[in-house]
């Protein structure tokens, strides 16, 4: 999922860097005023957890391996704007410190994982939540990562290195992550359910208190 340098044409890389920058600065503005004293450490822990989880490559029989990306997870736990900033932090550190994902395509990688996966995942979560939070978290992880894979496929398929074979890149990225995304969805749902039960106070969505119906 982390695109290395050399894969995406420069104009595209610049375009997606600009979009990512615009979305993240919007996110930073929206988030101002929503962070309480306990949320700043939570942002750090969720981002660090996403980094740690991304290092764990699950070996899948048949020669594939995949890791949890966590964009939807961060969005559900932190809200979409903080979630985007948290995952963008992870993706930037991965590229700058560990060479995972290129520097010129950093904006494109941030767009796929920290913007698309986060906001699509959050939207799916909100839509499905009335039918059950566990299902919603699962669908968010599953469809969020698939959406991010599709935009990655779009960037690759519109680039010279991939011979502009857009249908091939979209099919391989989309179908591949639609299948692997089941794992993403399962981890998102299981971990979220555990956290929601253990610490309901850490949830971001301040749904109106049932007790305040006076």
């Amino acid at each position: 999922m982390h695109i290395p340098d050399g894969y995406v044409d420069l104009p595209l890389a610049v375009l997606f860097a600009a979009i990512s920058l615009a979305v993240l600065s919007y996110a930073a503005r929206r988030v101002g005023g929503e962070i309480s004293d306990t949320r700043a450490p939570l942002v750090g822990v969720v981002a660090a957890g996403v980094f740690a989880a991304q290092m764990l490559n699950w070996p899948i029989p048949g020669g594939t391996s995949a890791h949890f990306v966590g964009g939807a997870f961060a969005a559900i736990l932190l809200g979409p704007h903080l979630g985007a900033l948290a995952v963008a932090t992870v993706v930037a550190i991965q590229a700058l410190v560990f060479g995972d994902g290129g520097l010129l395509v950093l904006g494109a990688n941030v767009f796929n994982m920290a913007v698309v996966e986060v906001y699509v995942g959050y939207a799916v979560y909100r839509v499905v939540a009335p039918y059950g939070e566990f299902r919603a978290a699962f669908a968010a992880g599953w469809l969020g990562i698939t959406a991010g894979a599709l935009t990655a496929g779009l960037q690759l398929g519109l680039s010279a290195a991939f011979q502009y074979e857009l249908l091939t890149t979209l099919a391989i990225m989309g179908v591949g992550h639609l299948v692997l995304g089941l794992i993403e969805g399962a981890i998102t749902a299981v971990v979220y359910r555990y956290l929601a039960r253990a610490r309901p106070d850490l949830r971001p969505t301040t749904t109106p208190d049932p007790e305040v119906s006076a």
């Binding site: 695109i3 290395p4 340098d5 050399g6 894969y7 930073a28 101002g32 005023g33 962070i35 309480s36 004293d37 306990t38 949320r39 700043a40 450490p41 939570l42 942002v43 750090g44 822990v45 981002a47 660090a48 957890g49 996403v50 980094f51 740690a52 989880a53 290092m55 764990l56 490559n57 699950w58 070996p59 020669g63 594939t64 391996s65 900033l85 948290a86 932090t89 550190i93 991965q94 590229a95 700058l96 410190v97 560990f98 060479g99 995972d100 290129g102 520097l103 690759l156 680039s159 290195a161 991939f162 011979q163 091939t168 890149t169 391989i172 990225m173 179908v175 591949g176 692997l180 610490r199």
Partner: protein, 112 residues
């Protein structure tokens, strides 16, 4: 919702840090296991299908290339990378949360 005075360290933080340490210790194990099956993501499959693989340029300037430490073995290198990466991410993201939240805290206190 008041956690008491000066509660900048939430009560769940030690447990969260313990989980992060556990994940870091697992990183070399997973690294070895996925090496056993051969590492390939859909991205790499797409690169192979279109002949793009050779166009990939590694980031030469990365201090811990490919989650390893130059001169150190694979498993210890992964372990060091895991701790460095998790710690760095924790600090940077916490700093971002703090930077964005500091003004707001004053505001909400004033409103109350």
């Amino acid at each position: 919702m008041a956690d008491g005075a000066g509660s900048t360290v939430p009560d769940w933080l030690p447990k969260a840090v313990a989980v992060l340490v556990a994940l870091a210790l697992l990183a070399p194990v997973f690294g070895w296991a996925s090496g056993q099956v051969g590492y390939a993501e859909p991205l790499e499959n797409a690169a192979e299908a279109t002949g793009a693989t050779d166009d990939a340029e590694p980031v030469e300037s990365a201090p811990f290339p490919d989650y390893g430490v130059p001169g150190l073995g694979s498993a210890p290198g992964t372990l060091v990378s895991a701790f460095v990466g998790i710690g760095l991410t924790l600090v940077v993201a916490f700093g971002i949360g703090r930077a964005l939240g500091s003004d707001a805290d004053a505001d909400t206190d004033a409103v109350r």
